[in-house]
């Protein structure tokens, strides 16, 4: 199976690889995995006082499509509010990267990672009381 150019581009030059401090109250960490292939994805967001995602980082161990999907969504969510980020659907990711049917689950993983990071951020804020 040949990878699409956009997948290759994100795979070879992944955007926003790295980590944010997971103990920072402004940082939400999402961890998701795909047991069928053993892929694991960490996506972190930092949210500013206006409730806008001003930074996003990811680390993915998995196939090219999983890396490309997470790289792409970190680009997409930067500058968005949490609610806007939550509207991103895996189908948009799959379409943008022209993922074949067997790789659709990689885009699902990326969508789940966003949700998981936002949920983590929100539960931190709720506990922190701010």
């Amino acid at each position: 199976m040949a990878y699409n150019d956009k997948v290759l581009d994100h795979y070879e030059n992944p955007r926003n690889v790295g980590s944010l401090d997971k103990n920072d109250p402004n940082v939400g960490t999402g961890m998701v995995g795909a047991p069928s292939c053993g892929d694991v994805m960490k996506l972190q967001i930092r949210v500013n006082e206006q409730g806008v995602i001003d930074d996003a980082k990811f680390k993915t161990f998995g196939c090219g499509s999983a890396i490309a999907s997470s790289s792409l969504v970190t680009e997409w969510i930067k500058g968005k509010t949490l609610d806007q980020a939550l509207t991103i659907k895996n189908t948009q990711v799959a379409e943008e990267l022209a993922l074949p049917p067997v790789k659709i689950h990689c885009s699902v993983l990326a969508e789940d990672a966003i949700k998981s990071a936002i949920q983590d951020y929100r539960s931190k804020r709720a506990v922190g009381g701010s």
């Binding site: 961890m31 998701v32 995995g33 069928s36």
Partner: protein, 211 residues
């Protein structure tokens, strides 16, 4: 599997056996059959490699197309179908992960293979992530690379043993008739096992490049 199955050749009652009890002609394999039965093994998670290999060898001999070379076209075709089933059984039962999945299927639980995302256990995924990071940090050119790879392999192999033991327990309890929560447990440990096996495959790949 229906006991009332009629022999395709003599139309007599073929029973459950591979060969018609009346005319002795080879019957088609039951495609839905339990792969343990294909190799004449009892259902269960515990299976010693030598026992598996011996039953595989015997089954291959029994159904080998050479033995049916002078028989009817139907029997020749069925012997090929049997050989395919026997190979599938050997492959599936030879790996603890796929063996456990097959047992789960037989126990009426949907195969976890087709579920793609986990109901998240972030703490476990974090451990996997940390292990993968440690693996990524191994510099293949460094002198200590083989030692570090071995240490990571041993660590993950211990986790494999732990999960395998838990899968064995939950499957044994499920087979003893304890309900679906036990099966859910087995599925969870199977998922974890998959991550560890994937990790070990990565270690294998790295070591191949090293030596």
């Amino acid at each position: 599997m229906s006991a009332a199955r009629a022999c395709w050749s003599c139309k007599g009652p073929a029973g459950d056996a591979a060969f018609c009890v009346v005319c002795g002609v080879l019957q088609p394999p039951d495609s839905g059959a339990d792969l343990f039965a294909v190799l004449g093994l009892p259902r269960g998670f515990d299976l010693d490699r030598p026992v598996l290999e011996e039953s595989y060898r015997q089954a291959q001999q029994r159904f080998h197309p050479d033995r049916f070379a002078t028989r009817s076209a139907g029997e020749r075709r069925y012997s090929l179908e049997w050989i395919t089933r026997i190979n599938t059984a050997f492959q599936t039962l030879g790996n603890p992960l796929t063996r456990a999945r097959h047992l789960l299927e037989l126990l009426g639980h949907a195969a976890p293979e087709h579920r793609n995302t986990t109901p998240v256990d972030p703490a476990f995924l974090m451990e996997v992530m940390e292990l993968r990071e440690a693996l990524a940090e191994v510099d293949p050119a460094a002198d200590d690379a083989p030692r570090r790879l071995e240490r990571l392999r041993r660590e993950v192999e211990q986790r494999v043993d732990l999960e395998t033991g838990l899968i064995r327990d939950s499957l044994a309890r499920a087979m003893a008739g304890e309900g679906t929560t036990v099966l859910e447990e087995a599925v969870r440990h199977l998922d974890r096992l998959r991550y560890h096996q994937r990790f070990l495959e990565e270690v294998d790949r790295l070591e191949e490049r090293l030596f």
